[in-house]
């Protein structure tokens, strides 16, 4: 949603309401509470509010607003990806305006590092709904701004990994399609592997890159190398997000290696962090079924179906949303 230059004074109600919403967001970090006054707004209301914000030249609030709109996009993307894209475009536009306002090179450099994280999160918002085409342009921009960021390389690898999953050689209608899917999947998994290896070269302790490299090697059939990388990733994993991702993917690898006990413990660690994660429930229930415990599989499924909220697991899912990046940005907004 581009905002035209040459900004006229805006009606104070829209500008004011938007400023208040940003302030609530900064104060509470609660996007659902902050967005309440704006929930019936039309795109032109947002246009006018953003024009007013840009006219204020309040750089700190513009950056906070960019994070606010990114958080809105994260919440919206499962319901409407076009609406999510609109909010990401608002944020992206605001960050470009902020950069233009900086004259000093050091400030621009600091801002570019910030923008790179913002853009990698923006791309990952679309990865979280398995839309690598929409994600890729943001990741390319992030990469241009921060070519030596392990974080950005990792999300870049995730774009390729998610794209690869769209070429399923076991889901085909013609033999030529199966061959094409096989070929395209191998190409993309190779690119993902190279991106994760680059991230690890830049930061050998980067847990998510180690885990995702392990996963890509696993689905490429390189089980020994996969286990090596996964073990390192699990050892480096800190905090709920990293430990959840480690539990999920290590579980998958161990299950394929027929270590059902190890896989069960790994999935259960992930489930302890996000009890209503659909992916982990399915993974664990499938493991139980294959291990001859169909009653346990049914109980897991019934408990999941009876749980009333999908919100917690949505942010975690398969780890494709850059949650650490989003959490870092939220912290920046508060500061």
């Amino acid at each position: 949603m581009a905002v035209a230059p040459g900004i006229a004074a805006q009606p104070p109600d829209v500008v004011e309401a938007h400023r208040n919403a940003v302030d609530i967001y900064v104060r509470t970090a609660d996007v659902t509470a902050a967005i309440v006054p704006l929930q019936h707004w039309k795109p032109q209301d947002f246009d006018r509010a953003i024009e007013g914000l840009i006219a204020s030249k309040d750089v700190a609030r513009m950056r906070a607003a960019a994070i606010f709109h990114l958080d809105i996009a994260t919440a919206l993307v499962g319901l409407s990806s076009p609406a999510a894209k609109q909010h990401i475009e608002i944020g992206s536009d605001l960050l470009s305006r902020v950069r233009d306002s900086y004259k000093e090179a050091t400030k621009r450099k600091e801002h570019d590092a910030f923008r790179a994280i913002w853009l990698s999160v923006a791309g990952s918002v679309f990865l979280s709904i398995r839309d690598p085409m929409r994600a890729a342009p943001y990741l390319r921009q992030a990469h241009d701004l921060a070519p030596d960021s392990a974080h950005v390389w990792t999300v870049y690898g995730m774009v390729e990994e998610v794209d690869a999953s769209g070429y399923n050689p076991n889901d085909w209608t013609t033999l030529s399609q199966r061959e094409r899917n096989q070929r395209e999947q191998i190409i993309r998994l190779g690119r993902a592997e190279r991106a994760y290896r680059e991230a690890i070269r830049l930061d050998s302790h980067y847990a998510i890159a180690l885990i995702r490299l392990g996963h890509v090697l696993h689905i490429s059939g390189k089980l020994r190398e996969a286990r090596e990388s996964m073990d390192r990733g699990v050892a480096e994993a800190k905090g709920p997000y990293q430990e959840y991702v480690a539990g999920l993917y290590m579980g998958g690898l161990l299950q394929d290696q027929k270590d059902f006990g190890g896989a069960r413990r790994s999935y259960e660690r992930a489930l302890a962090i996000v009890p209503n994660s659909q992916l982990v429930v399915v993974a664990l229930a499938h493991l139980e079924l294959m291990a001859g415990r169909p009653d346990r599989a049914q109980t897991l499924a019934r408990d999941f179906a009876a749980s009333d909220t999908q919100t917690t697991w949505w942010a975690y899912k398969d780890g494709s949303l850059d949650l650490p990046g989003l959490q870092w940005l939220r912290q920046q907004a508060r500061q």
Partner: protein
């Protein structure tokens, strides 16, 4: 030519209760029930006797104890794809087709409604009431990507705790390829074979692409239905859905229940079951086998 499409078998594991009711059980597996549909085009084939069925269990001919044309209630789970690609008239036609099916159920039939895009949602548990199901269907809106495999797996696990005198069916509708599941296709097929639910699949093909021509039905969905003992129908356009949902229900009403006590085969593991007709013509749908967990 007679064609075996799939099979539907329920294994009754021996228990004190079963033993008391059925003295014929041996070595753990008491009786195998095979749910078989026999169709001649769109019409059910009635009047067949047990002598007209041939059952091979792991290649060994079995003595059929009974063959009855079932008239038991259905326990039907509708599992509908509500992903983003269902926008527009596709979802409207789907809702109408599902409503028509619900209205055509017999009073003693039960139905539940679950949907999936990326998340799986049990919208309504099993009920004999029709209006809550109709209301829930009216509220469906499409959004998000497609976790078909995970949703079907969860649907299979949610089978009613006690089936009793009813036939449990999972009727899956999808219009697209899986984009977000944890389970691979081979894992889901394996899990489906281990389930006792009858699984039918209705697929809505993508719109015709002028560059690539007419889309073809998914091989995977056909294999999935086969593994679940059901059929796979593909609709070229959304307005065909009403007809296909009707065909699915018609098929569910035309089932024979064959029972036999397995003999001459090992108890544990996978049992490949083949059902054919002798001195009769018809299109057979039955589960391809059953699995007995080693003790």
């Amino acid at each position: 030519m007679m064609r075996i499409i799939a099979a539907s078998a329920v294994v009754l594991i021996a228990s004190v209760t079963v033993a008391a009711q059925r003295p014929t059980f041996r070595s753990g597996v008491a009786v195998v029930r095979i749910d078989v549909s026999v169709m001649n085009g769109l019409s059910p084939v009635a009047g067949l006797t047990r002598d007209q069925f041939v059952v091979l269990d792991n290649g060994v001919p079995q003595t059929i104890d009974s063959a009855t044309l079932e008239n038991v209630p259905l326990t039907l789970t509708l599992l509908l794809d509500t992903s983003e690609s269902m926008r527009g008239d596709r979802i409207a036609h789907l809702i109408e087709a599902a409503k028509t099916l619900i209205k055509a159920l017999h009073p003693q039939d039960e139905a539940s409604l679950a949907t999936f895009s990326e998340p799986f949602l049990l919208r309504l548990p099993m009920t004999r009431e029709r209006s809550p199901l109709i209301d829930a269907l009216d509220r469906l809106t499409p959004a998000g990507s497609t976790s078909l495999n995970d949703a079907v797996f969860l649907g299979l696990q949610l089978k009613p705790a006690t089936v009793g005198d009813s036939t449990s069916v999972l009727l899956v509708f999808s219009d697209g390829h899986d984009t977000a599941s944890w389970l691979r296709n081979d894992q889901l097929i394996d899990a489906t074979k281990r389930s006792s639910l009858l699984l039918h699949v209705i697929e809505l093909l993508p719109s015709i692409d002028t560059a690539t021509g007419s889309p073809r039905p998914s091989e995977f969905l056909a294999s999935l239905a086969k593994a679940g003992g059901g059929r796979h129908w593909a609709a070229q356009k959304a307005s065909d859905l009403n007809d296909l949902f009707g065909k699915a229900l018609n098929e569910l009403r035309a089932r024979y229940l064959l029972t036999y006590s397995p003999s001459g085969v090992d108890r544990d593991g996978w049992h490949d079951v083949k059902v054919t007709l002798r001195n009769a013509r018809g299109d057979i749908t039955a589960r391809p086998g059953y699995f007995v967990q080693p003790q």
